[in-house]
């Protein structure tokens, strides 16, 4: 079970930079981060950094997380 409070915190941070986050939990945790038209491209950390951030915030092991980033963003 993901930590909903942690998810809310990450969502607040992402929304401040113009991003949205959707999380679906099953056997694995699917995280999709998408850019709004107002997104700040350089403000989103690389996916390699986001995974441990999500691991901490959602309180799930990083190897259970499948992360999808906005197309064209550095991974």
């Amino acid at each position: 079970m993901i930590d909903l409070e942690g998810l809310a915190g990450i969502r607040t941070s992402l929304e401040a930079d113009g991003y949205e986050i959707d999380v679906t939990e099953g056997e694995r945790v699917e995280v999709v981060i998408s850019a709004t038209p107002d997104a700040c491209a350089e403000c989103l950390v690389p996916a390699s950094v986001m995974v441990p951030i999500l691991e901490h915030a959602l309180k799930v092991p990083g190897d259970r997380i499948d992360l999808t980033y906005p197309e064209g963003h550095e991974t």
């Binding site: 915190g9 941070s13 401040a16 700040c40 441990p52």
Partner: protein, 184 residues
Amino acid sequence: MGSLIMDPTGQTTRAEAEMRLARRPESLRGRTVGLLDNGKQNAGRFVDELGKVLAERYSIGGVVLRKKPVATVDAPAELLDDLHDSVELVVIAVGDCGSCSAAAVADGIALERLGTPTAVVCTESFKATADAMAVVRGASGYRYATVEHPMAGLPADEVRARAEGVADEVVSLLVDAAVRRGAA
């Protein structure tokens, strides 16, 4: 001077590592403070105003201004070494986006490990990112100061107000011995 304490059993995970912060002075009086502008909009104005407030309220000895070449990634090691060699304390500002908040916290932790007491300032919206980066860098519970979001786009008088409002919190991070116990 700063050191990282790891579990001698070798069982400590990255997230559980305990970091001991650099030794703090009893006060800022007469101390030279490094002000690291991370390059975000209004960060330079903010650290400049914060330096003035620290001089007015805490009689610091002077400031040394430095600027990060890129806000959104860790500062170059040469820049952190230069600050460590040049000043006694450092303030880093401002974490006003996801990547720059994470990078500011990473820089603060790196300076603590060099032995330089450091206070990082982020805007409130990025606490989750800043907290998580602290864990990633082995400093769970690392404390930093926060100001209202955003900093970018504020007029000069509001930047000054942000600096005035957060100055005491910044000082408590730089001199308060209790902070060292809080970084577990």
